[in-house]
């Protein structure tokens, strides 16, 4: 359930990253097996022995929507299948920077920083063997601008005015505004125009059953909530980087059955929830090993700073001092190795993270919290055990959703420790969608909460525009629910987008992050890890990392 929710809450900015495998510079050797019906493993498949059983990698998880189209899918798991079938104009490297995608030779940015010109490799073909040209790129990106388009990329489509074909291998994007974060808009896989051309959007969407891209795999079959079966694209254009596997299967496996299925070798690898019990279970398995890393995302706790109780930064800081987050992490995740204490709105994995020394960790200190509340003028004048000021009681409503377990754990601990410093907490359990509506969809002034908690995944670029901490997003439907305004912070957000030098940008975001850490309109609760359990007979997946998805590694994956 936890996982599933995380997916729905996932920012689609999270790179639908294109395939790895830096191309060997445009060699156009045709695939030797093209057209043959049995893709027998050739010499490259292993140590000389031609094995007869096809090498099929099986990934298990729960929650595919099976929307097999890179511009319609909003689900990470579907996204991985799309990554194997489609390739985009840009992708992220292992440090989270956006670079040329597999099908791109070079990217040129104009003087005014408003036009990106992509030079496409001239030997790229779709899985039916037809060449990919600038027309296909224009088609893909203009479909997102179709008035009837209802997919999740409308925000991406709003960043460019038009897409222009210069010639077959050159395509220019004319952006609405200059921004160093613009390259993240071009990661989406290129669709074949000839295959996808439509007269109605429903016709386009019906092609989800029959995807066609330039990637190393293609769809063999899929069944709703059961499996996605991909096989090797025998016409793959990049022969030097062709995968050694014959197929990849995405199997629907419930959270409960994930580790049993791994143990029984019904699947080859999986991404269980990052909890100690799962780590221990995997370590007990004889043939399986773990890979873990800190993920690019955080869980947060947003304060409604427009409330008289929470408008004073001292109160917000006191509440955080009175929250034993280290204990919470231990209770919820079972181990400090699987999670890091939340510090600031920039992820620890980002090049813009200021470093722990620059930030206040708000270590648990009830006495300090109590004296801060005293200083702020909140005292228990009527002797009911709850502090008050000017006739307002320090009583807070916290919206918790039950789809994940951690908001319940955290608010439960807060209930106890805050009570000790004279703060009353009312925990209100609502479903995720209702929490989102109350905090975000409601207009400013009608946002009926004091605190709510949620978890986000982040894009590789640290730009906070439009997000939780951007005052401009404090509106009906905007993502800032705290209502907190700080002039310098807003200035820094704008400066960050005007600067194209990454080192200078990092300095701007560091100053911004340190400010947020101090002003606390929203507390970053934790940075969570991701863990992978991989069967020992699978080789080449151990470099999975925060900006390296397993689909990036696929070309070198082999199995015993």
């Amino acid at each position: 359930m936890n996982k599933k929710l995380f997916v729905t809450a996932l920012s689609s900015l999270l790179a639908v990253s294109a395939l790895a495998g830096c191309s060997g510079g445009g060699s156009s050797t045709p695939t030797p097996d093209a057209g043959s019906s049995t893709p027998a493993a050739t010499a490259e498949a292993g140590g000389g022995e031609a094995s007869t059983t096809p090498q099929v990698l099986r990934f298990g998880c729960s929650g595919y929507d099976i929307v097999l189209n890179p511009i319609l899918s909003s689900n990470v798991y579907d996204g991985w299948a799309n990554d194997l079938m489609f390739q985009g104009l840009t992708k992220t490297n292992s440090s989270g920077e956006y670079i040329e995608g597999d099908i791109t030779d070079s990217i040129e940015l104009s003087e005014d920083k408003l036009t990106y010109t992509f030079t496409l490799k001239d030997n790229v073909t779709f899985s039916d063997g037809s060449p990919m040209t600038a027309d296909d790129v224009v088609f893909t990106y203009m479909t997102m601008k179709d008035p009837d388009y209802t997919g999740p990329r409308a925000g991406v489509a709003a960043t460019y005015d038009s897409v222009e074909k210069i010639d077959d291998t050159h395509v220019a994007f004319h952006m609405v505004a200059a921004s160093p974060a613009n390259l993240q808009n071009f990661t989406y896989g290129v669709l074949s125009k000839a295959h996808y051309e439509y007269s109605s959007m429903e016709e386009f969407e019906a092609k989800n059953n029959d995807p066609m891209g330039t990637g190393p795999f293609k769809l063999e079959s899929a069944q709703a909530k059961q499996y996605i079966n991909l096989v090797k694209n025998e016409n793959y254009w990049d022969a030097a980087n062709a995968p050694k596997l014959d197929g990849v299967q995405f199997l629907e496996v419930s959270e409960e059955a994930l580790l049993p299925a791994l143990q029984n070798k019904e699947i080859d690898f999986a991404q269980p929830a990052a909890k100690l019990e799962n780590v221990e279970a995997v370590e007990e398995m004889a043939d399986t090993h773990l890979v873990s890393y800190l993920a690019n995302g955080y869980t947060f706790m947003c304060f409604n700073t427009t409330r008289p109780t929470l408008e004073d930064v001292k109160v917000r800081q006191a509440l955080v001092y009175a929250l034993d987050r280290r204990n919470f992490l231990l209770a919820e995740y079972g181990s400090n190795e699987l999670v890091a204490l939340g510090m600031c709105p920039i992820s620890k994995t980002s090049w813009a993270y200021p470093g722990d020394d620059e930030l206040n960790a708000y270590e648990y200190d009830l006495d300090k919290a109590a004296s801060m509340l005293d200083e702020a003028g909140w005292k228990d004048t009527d002797g009911d055990g709850v502090r008050d000021k000017d006739g307002v009681k320090l009583s807070l409503d916290w919206l918790v959703y039950p789809e994940a377990t951690w908001p319940g754990t955290l608010s439960g601990m807060a209930f106890d420790s805050w009570k000790q410093i004279g703060v009353e907490l009312n925990i209100k359990t609502l479903d995720f969608n209702t929490v989102a509506e109350t905090a975000m969809d409601a207009a400013p002034g009608e946002k009926d909460f004091d605190i709510y908690t949620m978890g986000f995944s982040l894009s590789a670029d640290p730009d906070p525009t439009g997000g939780l901490f951007d005052y401009d997003a404090y509106s009906a439907g905007g993502y800032n629910a705290s209502g907190f305004y700080d002039e310098r912070s807003q200035e820094l957000i704008k400066l960050g987008l005007a600067e194209f030098d990454q080192d200078k940008r990092a300095e701007i975001y560091k100053e911004w992050a340190i400010r947020q850490n101090e002003l606390l309109p929203t507390l970053i609760v934790a940075y969570r890890s991701e863990i992978w359990a991989i069967n020992n007979n699978v080789h080449g997946l151990d470099d999975i990392g925060v900006y390296t998805s397993w689909t990036d590694l696929i070309k070198d994956v082999t199995m015993d």
Partner: protein, 321 residues
């Protein structure tokens, strides 16, 4: 009889419309919308509002109700924007497994529950009756998720007799029809047993109490007095009459065949209408939610009608005119 059926069929129409009307009303009052859980800073409030207007235009609920009816009359039961497919296709992809699972479970429940109930009744207060009573209470009391996890652990993980997940083995995806059918059956055994467990118990309890009542009636004493063997008395005279309430029970179970079993589907990673409905609610995917509920409403209404007709068939005392 014919008049009765026609009258009942005509009654279905207003009841169906009434239930749908209430459904549209409740959905209208529910908080959140299909765009509420989009968490993407590039989706500005304006873009979200525009998307919402395309997916779920802001109309009064009775207007939406009327539009749905008009579209349904043309064979269009809505479009699931989450799946980018017509609602009817989305339901179609899930209902097969749900039906197979529930039907298998129902058959298991009847095959075990009814004979066990008869034995229990004829041997009232004996050791076997006590054993079956305890067993059935356990079956009713044990939550499905617990029983499911337990059976998964024992039969799939420890003994490895059954697969741990899914409806088909990954190696059989491209197998021929009969191999696939066999594989599906193999995958269904464990979940169907779990789902059938609680139902077995309720069939047993119903059969037992109904049988006990019949056994004590005058015509059974008469049959025994005629010198008929105990076997004939129980299985020919008593059993048929004891089955009358079971037929009603069966009628109520028919909608259950397509409504899905959330817990069983979730634990055994099966596709199904149960999971689909919960997802539809969580995503505020109203077209899908209405599609599923319209289907379930119709199924329930028809099932009760069939149960009533069957009632007349098995019980000669009941006459409809």
């Amino acid at each position: 009889m014919k008049n009765y059926v026609i009258r009942r069929l005509l009654q279905i129409i207003p009841v169906f419309l009434g239930i749908l009307f209430i459904l549209f009303f409740i959905i209208d009052k529910a908080p959140g919308s299909i765009v509420s859980n989009i968490m993407d800073p590039t989706m500005t409030p304006e873009l979200k509002a525009a998307l919402l207007e395309k997916l779920d235009p802001n109309l009064p609920f009775y207007q939406k109700f009327w539009n749905w009816l008009v579209q349904a009359a043309h064979g269009n039961f809505g479009y699931s924007s989450k799946h980018f497919k017509p609602v009817i296709d989305v339901i179609g992809e899930n209902i097969g497994v749900t039906f197979a699972l529930s039907l298998t479970a129902l058959i298991i429940a009847m095959l075990i529950g009814i004979p066990a109930g008869i034995i229990s009744a004829t041997k009232q207060y004996s050791a076997i009756d006590n054993f079956l009573t305890v067993f059935s209470l356990l079956g009713l009391a044990l939550p499905t998720f617990f029983a499911g996890l337990l059976m998964l652990k024992v039969f799939a993980v420890e003994l490895k007799w059954f697969p741990t997940f899914g409806f088909i083995s990954s190696t059989n995806i491209n197998a021929d029809f009969w191999t696939k059918l066999g594989d599906h059956a193999y995958h269904l055994i464990l979940p169907a047993c779990v789902l059938g467990l609680a139902e077995t118990a309720s069939f047993m309890r119903y059969t037992r109490s109904s049988m006990l009542e019949v056994i004590r009636s005058d015509y059974i004493r008469t049959a025994r007095a005629k010198g008929l063997s105990e076997k004939v008395v129980i299985y020919k005279h008593a059993f048929r009459n004891a089955m009358i309430p079971i037929v009603t029970l069966l009628g109520f179970r028919i909608p259950g065949l397509i409504s899905g079993a959330l817990m069983t589907e979730t634990i055994f990673s099966l596709p199904g209408v149960g999971k689909l409905s919960v997802e539809a609610v969580n995503n505020r995917n109203y077209p899908l939610l209405i599609g599923i509920n319209a289907m379930l409403t119709l199924a329930t209404l028809f099932a009760t009608l069939i149960a009533d007709i069957l009632y007349a068939a098995v019980d000669p005392r009941i006459k409809y005119d």
